[in-house]
Assembly symmetry: C2
Homo-oligomer: 410 residues x 2
C-alpha cells in the first residue's frame, strides 16, 4: 500500500515561474519515493491582493459572492501552471478546482466553512498514478457556486483533504523553516521547535504565529493527522505537529506568541438585565466573527460596561453590528481602542504547573508593562497590553522561561 502524502505550498513559494518549476521537482521527487501525492496550492505571490485591489477600486464593499468568484481565480492559475510544470518533467499530473476535488462548504462567501469532501475524483486520479494538484482556499456551496474559506484557507483545504484521504502525512511548505519559540524577527535567540502538540500549535496559531491557521490545526487534531511545517526551499527539518510530544527537560512553556492587530470595543452604560451581550454575540457569530475575551463589569447601579476583543480585520464589521444593536437598546457610549496587542505563553502543561502565571506577570511587571486584561486557558496565558510595549513584553517572557535553551532536536 502506497503512502498518501498531502503537500501544501503557500503563495510565497509560488511567486515566480522559477519557483513553480522548483516545486514541481520537489513534488516529483516525493512521488518517486513511492508516495501518492496530493498538492494543495495558494495563489501565486500577491495575486490575491492584486485581485482584491481591483475589486476595491470599483467598490468599497464589493458583493461577497463576486469577491469569491474573483479571488478563486488565483488558485486556479496556480494549479494549472504547476500541473504543466510537472508534465514537463515527464510525470502525470492533473489540476482540480474545489469543484473537482469535491470540497463542499456552507454558503458564507469569503469565509465559508467546510461541510464535507467528496474525494472520488481525487482517489480515481491517484489510483491512475497521477499527481493531483488542488486549488486551496476555495470550495463550492450547495448552489454550486464558488466560495472561499477565508484566512488560512489553503491550510484548511490541505488538512481536510489529508483527513478525508486518510493521508499518512500533511506537509505544509512555507517561507519559514518551522515554528519558533518566538518570532525570530523579534527575538534573535528564538529557537525552532522540533515537535509541538496540536493543542500548543493551535493556540500559537490562533494567537498569531503566522505559520499555519488554527482552523487547520484544530481539524488535524480531531483526526490525529500528523503535520509537518517546513521551509519550501530550505533544508531545515521543520516542526512536526503531533498528538504527543515527549516533554524532555520538563519544558512547560513551549513558546511566546502575540497578536498585533487586536482591537477592543467597549459599551458603556448598558442597562442591566438586557440581553445585549447575548444578541450582540449572536449577530457577530452570524458573520463568523470570532470574539476573544468578553468582560462585563458593573458601571453604576443600573448599568454595566461590556467590552470585547476582536482582530483588526473584524473590527469594522464588529463595530457596525455593535452600533446597530446599541441603537436599539440604548447604550450611553461606545468606546474603541485599536492600539492593543496580545502577548501569550503557550504550553501543554501550563495549567498543571503552579506558579507559571505569577512568573509571567512578574516578568512583565519588571519590564514596566501594564496588563489591560488577562485571559487564561488550559494551555495558555494571555495578556492584553499596549501595542507600543509588545516587543519588550515578548523579550521579557522569552527570557523568563529560558526558551533560547531549547534543544535543537528532541
Amino acid at each position: 500500500m502506497k503512502k498518501i502524502v498531502v503537500q501544501k505550498y503557500g503563495g510565497s513559494s509560488l511567486s515566480t515561474i522559477g519557483k513553480v518549476k522548483k516545486i514541481a521537482k520537489k513534488i516529483v521527487a516525493r512521488f518517486k519515493e513511492g508516495n501518492q501525492i496530493v498538492v494543495v496550492v495558494s495563489a501565486m505571490g500577491n495575486e490575491t491582493n492584486r485581485l482584491l485591489k481591483l475589486a476595491y477600486r470599483i467598490s468599497p464593499s464589493p458583493d461577497k459572492r463576486e469577491l469569491d468568484m474573483l479571488t478563486s481565480t488565483g488558485e486556479q492559475v496556480s494549479i494549472a501552471l504547476l500541473a504543466m510544470a510537472i508534465h514537463i518533467l515527464g510525470n502525470e499530473a492533473i489540476s482540480f478546482t474545489a469543484r473537482h476535488a469535491g470540497i463542499l462548504t456552507d454558503g458564507k462567501y469569503t469565509r465559508a466553512r467546510l461541510i464535507k469532501i467528496d474525494s472520488q475524483k481525487i482517489e480515481k486520479a491517484l489510483n491512475l498514478g497521477k499527481i493531483v494538484i488542488v486549488a486551496g482556499f476555495q470550495g463550492i456551496n450547495h448552489h454550486d457556486e464558488v466560495t472561499t474559506l477565508g484566512r488560512g484557507g489553503s491550510d484548511l483545504s490541505a488538512v481536510a483533504l489529508a483527513v478525508q484521504l486518510k493521508a499518512d502525512l500533511c506537509e505544509i511548505y512555507t517561507d519559514v523553516d518551522g515554528v519558533y519559540t518566538a518570532n525570530p524577527k523579534l527575538i534573535s535567540e528564538a529557537q525552532r521547535i522540533p515537535r509541538i502538540s496540536y493543542d500548543e500549535m493551535s493556540e500559537m496559531a490562533a494567537l498569531g504565529a503566522q505559520v499555519m491557521h488554527h482552523r487547520a490545526i484544530d481539524l488535524a487534531r480531531k483526526y490525529h493527522l500528523p503535520i509537518i511545517v517546513k521551509s519550501t526551499f530550505g533544508s531545515s527539518k521543520g516542526t512536526m505537529i503531533t498528538k504527543e510530544v515527549p516533554m524532555l527537560e520538563n519544558v512547560i512553556v513551549r513558546g511566546v506568541t502575540y497578536q498585533k492587530n487586536v482591537a477592543r470595543i467597549t459599551l458603556q452604560g448598558v442597562k442591566k438585565n438586557t440581553d445585549l451581550a447575548c444578541r450582540l454575540f449572536e449577530d457577530l457569530a452570524k458573520e463568523n466573527i470570532v470574539i476573544d475575551s468578553i468582560v462585563q463589569d458593573l458601571y453604576n447601579q443600573d448599568t454595566v460596561t461590556v467590552s470585547f476583543i476582536v482582530t483588526e480585520e473584524d473590527f469594522m464589521p464588529s463595530l457596525k453590528i455593535t452600533k446597530e444593536i446599541a441603537g436599539k437598546i440604548g447604550v450611553q457610549k461606545i468606546h474603541t481602542d485599536c492600539n492593543l496587542a496580545k502577548v501569550s505563553i503557550v504550553g501543554d502543561s501550563i495549567a498543571k504547573e503552579s506558579g507559571i502565571a505569577s512568573r509571567m506577570f512578574r516578568a512583565l511587571s519588571r519590564a514596566g508593562i501594564h496588563m489591560e486584561t488577562i485571559n487564561t486557558s488550559r494551555i495558555r496565558i494571555s495578556c492584553l497590553i499596549k501595542l507600543s510595549q509588545l516587543d519588550q513584553a515578548v523579550k521579557a517572557l522569552h527570557d523568563e522561561f529560558e526558551l533560547s535553551k531549547i534543544k535543537k532536536e528532541i
Copy 2:
C-alpha cells in the same frame, strides 16, 4: 414582454478598471430602457496572453486541459469585476461562469465546440430583474471540466446565448466602429458598411475582417438573430448584420478583405489512387483544423501533387499531421510556403453578376500582382498572392469596385 438583449464586450473594452466602470454605466442605461440584459465578456485587455505566456515559460506544448483551466480564469475575473461595477450603480447583477450559464461543449480542449446551452439559471436570474454577466470564451464538457472555444470564442458565446434565450438583438461591442469596405488602416477611403447580410459578413469574418468571428455569424444566420457590431466607447451607429440587405445602388461587391497569415503545404510525388487526401483531411479535421482550398494536380504519370492552405496558427500542427501520414504512404517531398496572403472580394450577388471575376483579375494584373491560386464561392472570389503584394492588391480592388463611394447609411 420585455426585450432580451445580449451584449458582448471584448478585452480591449475592459482593459482598465475605468473602462469596466464605463461599461457598467452603458449596461445599466440599456437595462433602464426596459430590456432584460445578458452581458458576455472577454478577459481584461491582454490577460489571456499574459496567462499564455506564463504557460509557455513552463512548457513549449502545455497540456490543453491545463491551458483551458488557466486561461478561463481571465473571463472569470472580468465577470466578477463587472458585476461589482453594476452593483455600485445600485443595480442587481450576477456573474456566471460557463458552468452557471450552462454552456456545454464537446471535449476538445482549447478549441471546443458548443453542444447546447442549458439556460435555466440565466432565465431565472433575468426574471428576478438581475443583469446577468456571463464569462465568454469558455464552456464545460461532459466531464464537468472547463473548455475554451478558441479564437473568437466570446462572440460565439454571445450569439449562442442570444439564440438560446430567443433574444431580440445581439450587440457586439468592440474597438472598431463597424465593418468596413476594407481595413481602414490600409485604405483611408474605406467606408463603414451600415448593413450587411449574414453571408457576406460570414465570408468577410472568415477571410480576416477582425471584427467578429465567422463561427458566431454562421450561428446567428442559422437562427436569424440580428447582430449589431459597434464601437464600445464611440458614437457610430455600427454595422447591422441581418438576413436581407436592401441592395440600393446595385452594390455587387460589399467589401475587400484579406487574410495575412496563411500558409501552403504541398506534397509532391504522392502515388495516384492512395487515399492520402482523404486520410490527411480526416486527421486534420479531428484536430478541428479548417482547411482552405485544396488542389490536387498530376505531377507525373504515376504521382500527383496535393497542396492545401491553412492559417498560420494551424500551420505547425497541420505540418506535423501531414508528415506523419506522408511517412506512412511514401511521399517524395513536402514543400511549405508561409509568405502568402489571401485577398478576396465579397458580395451577395457576385455569382449572379457576370464579369466580376474578370474585373478582379484584370485589376490585380494591372497592379503587377501574380495570383497563385484562385478560389470562388457563391458570394466571394479569393486569390492567393505573395504577402509582400497584399497592400497593393487591396487598394487595387477597393478602387476597381468603387467602394469608397458607398452611401454612409442605407
